[in-house]
């Protein structure tokens, strides 16, 4: 855990900004895929300081935001049942389902617990053999392997009172979905480094070639993102469209083979609905046939539950880069972190939350002019 100060150094940042300014000659639209990158960009004000030719479009890579409403409602339904301990990462608890969230269920007496690792949920299952323990398994390729490991361990240890509510999603089909949309303006991608640290970069060259877009694998610290922008702009200016790894300290081309093996063993690819976007073919994982007995949807018979997304929320447009959060009529008025219409306003990686938290001056996304301290 060093790599923090080194990748927030203002002098190195200035050089990268200068390099980007010297390189860019015309407008380019770059999408950062991951919500963690979006928050870093907005929090550090990187978008304010880039040349105006460069537009950063915020992508769909917030796992909380894209978890479909009906999956949240399934979680609420299961968590409300007596005899259930429902375990989740913290940032799912405020995500609105139809009419309520997991915090509400806890307030109503449901046993909803925040855990920091899915293995904690397995421990809770061992300690509570008379209860059914469910873990809310959401997220991209980053969180899927540890969740797969948990199910693997549950079987190995003979823990039968544990199950997984699975809503995992995959990045490459989402990129494909974005690029085939007629509204798409994205000319280059900053790919999410932590996803590639698991899956490697093998899935990306075909996407770069097919859609003729540069894809630069990028980390999450400010200098990581600036380096990603620099490389993407350089490719765009030269008319190139390659995959580049600007995050070599974490990403190898082959990814993490052990994690990939675990994924392949426990999960299988499936079509998956993305909140606000719709169903994307082959964009998700579900438990494979061999592990289906650990599927909470089956165990609690909530597979038939369907819901309708409220029309007022335009988070789907935000997630596809078609709308900036502050351009939404509901932003900061009827939609706030306290009264969210969609998950993008409450997730710690949500684009709407980033704009609300860091840019909420007179409702404008522009920086305020203030004199420096003494």
């Amino acid at each position: 855990m060093k790599y923090l100060d080194e990748f927030q150094d203002p002098e190195l940042a200035r050089r990268l900004f200068d390099d980007i300014r010297a390189t860019v000659t015309r407008p380019w639209a770059l999408m950062e895929v991951c919500g963690g990158q979006t928050h870093s960009i907005i929090r550090h004000g990187i978008d304010q300081l880039l040349p105006e030719e460069i537009e950063l479009i915020h992508g769909p890579g917030c796992p909380v935001c894209v978890t479909p409403l009906e999956m949240i409602d399934k979680a609420l339904e299961i968590a409300s049942r007596p005899g259930v301990i429902f375990c989740s990462f913290g940032d799912m608890l405020r995500v609105p389902g139809t009419g309520r969230d997991l915090f509400t269920v806890r307030g109503e007496g449901g046993d909803v617990r925040v855990v920091y690792s899915p293995l904690d949920a397995l421990r809770i299952a061992r300690e509570n053999p008379d209860k059914q323990v469910v873990f809310f398994g959401i997220g991209f390729e980053t969180t899927a392997p540890p969740n797969a490991m948990t199910v693997y361990q549950a079987r190995r240890l003979g823990i039968r009172n544990f199950s997984l509510l699975v809503s995992h999603v995959r990045v490459p089909p989402a990129i494909e979905g974005l690029m085939t949309s007629p509204d798409c303006r994205v000319q280059a991608f900053l790919a999410a480094g932590h996803v590639c640290s698991v899956m490697g970069t093998e899935e990306y060259p075909q996407l770069a070639e097919r859609f003729r877009v540069p894809i630069v694998v990028t980390g999450f610290e400010p200098l990581d993102i600036l380096e990603g922008v620099r490389r993407a702009v350089r490719q765009l200016e030269r008319g190139e469209h390659r995959v580049e790894n600007a995050y070599p300290r974490a990403v190898r081309p082959e990814g993490n083979p052990a994690a990939r093996r675990m994924l392949a063993d426990v999960f299988e690819v499936t079509d998956r609905a993305w909140r606000g976007i719709g169903t994307i073919p082959a964009s998700g994982w579900r438990l494979s046939e061999a592990y289906r007995e650990f599927d909470a949807e089956q165990r609690f018979e909530v597979g038939d539950l369907t819901t309708v997304e409220p029309a007022a929320c335009r988070s789907g447009d935000v997630l596809q880069g078609l709308l900036k959060p502050h351009e939404c009529e509901a932003f900061g008025t009827v939609c706030t972190p306290r009264t969210p219409l969609g998950a993008t306003m409450v997730s710690s990686e949500g684009a709407c939350a980033a704009y609300y938290l860091y840019r909420r001056l007179a409702g404008a996304p522009t920086p305020v002019e203030v004199a420096p301290v003494g």
């Binding site: 855990m1 060093k2 923090l4 100060d5 927030q8 203002p10 940042a13 200035r14 900004f17 963690g36 907005i42 929090r43 550090h44 004000g45 990187i46 304010q48 300081l49 796992p63 909380v64 990462f89 913290g90 940032d91 799912m92 608890l93 405020r94 915090f103 806890r106 925040v114 920091y116 959401i138 997220g139 991209f140 980053t142 969180t143 932590h194 400010p222 972190p337 306290r338 710690s348 990686e349 609300y356 938290l357 860091y358 840019r359 909420r360 001056l361 920086p367 305020v368 002019e369 203030v370 004199a371 420096p372 301290v373 003494g374």
Partner: protein
């Protein structure tokens, strides 16, 4: 739970439910402690309840918190803390040895803070209705003549100082509560601040605002002051004293150190002409050895806190809504 997190929800509960029901003028402005005229003296009066899991954590315990929390609330009015009350809410079945350890910690912390526990109370609730031990303390202290420290006294031009590294208490408690290993031992900064405040007041009685940034962290404290005084606060992000171990732990969990609780720190709003001397006095005190100027009060954006980022951009530092939630990945 969000209503106890020290953020917007907590403030609203007090402002919209408790204060109107009580109707006391002393509650105006919601200072850390009320300053009451009694005879010829000005007394600071404060109370706080302590609910922490686990009861003992690196660098302190619920007993230390119960003393220092109330002592510090008194000190934030410039008062010299004098007496405490101490009430225990015990859960049926809690080990007597545990209660004794908490009591010992309270005694030791009171002696260290220079206050005496003058009265108390004990109640026992049924098993399953508490977390072992809850403690409530109330305290009184004397406010010296000429001292007038309130959250609504900040004015543009004031310099904002923090007394040392931030985020230690919250991360220390989280590390043991959740069994997280951060590679280094992080200890709570829990400490009584009366002596540090006295050292600052010895330089000038004209300190405008003091606040101990406990729940909700520095961000909540600064937002409360900005709102109470109708001033803007401009922070310099590079100046914030965030220890590397706190920065790393927060990066891992997706938390912002500005929102993490402290139990032995204060933020001070000081007239610019006194800022250097006050800072020097803080640096000379053991509990202010890491003091830093972190920003200033400005006319722009009244009621809001804005940070200048390391690269020269700006961002809003919002009030936390409730508790921070660790992110998923």
């Amino acid at each position: 739970m969000g209503h106890g997190g020290g953020g917007t929800l907590s403030s609203e509960l007090v402002e919209h439910v408790f204060a109107p029901a009580f109707g006391s003028p002393e509650l105006s402005g919601f200072p850390d402690s009320a300053v009451l005229r009694l005879g010829g003296a000005r007394l600071a009066f404060s109370t706080d309840s302590f609910v922490v899991r686990p009861l003992f954590f690196p660098g302190g315990s619920i007993g230390d918190l119960a003393v220092n929390g109330t002592v510090n609330d008194l000190a934030m009015s410039g008062a010299v803390p004098a007496f405490l009350s101490c009430a225990f809410l015990l859960e049926e079945g809690v080990e007597l040895e545990t209660v004794a350890r908490v009591a010992e910690a309270i005694g030791a912390a009171a002696r260290a803070a220079g206050v005496r526990v003058a009265t108390g109370d004990t109640k026992v609730v049924e098993s399953g209705h508490g977390d072992g031990v809850y403690v409530n303390t109330a305290g009184i202290g004397l406010v010296p003549d000429g001292v007038d420290i309130r959250p609504d006294r900040a004015v543009p031009g004031d310099v904002v100082i923090v007394s040392g590294p931030i985020g230690l208490h919250g991360v220390a408690v989280m590390s043991v509560r959740e069994g997280l290993e951060f590679g280094v031992r992080i200890e709570s900064d829990c400490a009584p601040l009366g002596g540090l405040v006295a050292a600052m007041l010895a330089v000038t009685p004209d300190l405008h605002v003091l606040r101990d940034p406990t729940r909700g962290g520095v961000a909540a404290a600064l937002n409360e002051i900005a709102a109470s005084s109708s001033v803007g606060v401009l922070l310099q992000e590079r100046a914030l004293p965030v220890p590397p171990e706190v920065a790393n732990a927060c990066a891992l969990l997706g938390l912002d150190p500005l929102y993490v609780a402290n139990e032995g720190k204060l933020v001070a709003f000081v007239p610019r002409e006194h800022a250097d001397a006050v800072l020097a006095a803080m640096l000379a005190h053991p509990l202010g050895a890491g003091a830093r100027i972190i920003g200033e009060c400005v006319d722009a954006h009244p009621g809001m806190v804005v940070a200048r980022t390391a690269f020269g951009a700006t961002r809003v530092v919002d009030r936390p809504l409730g508790e921070q939630l660790p992110r998923i990945c």
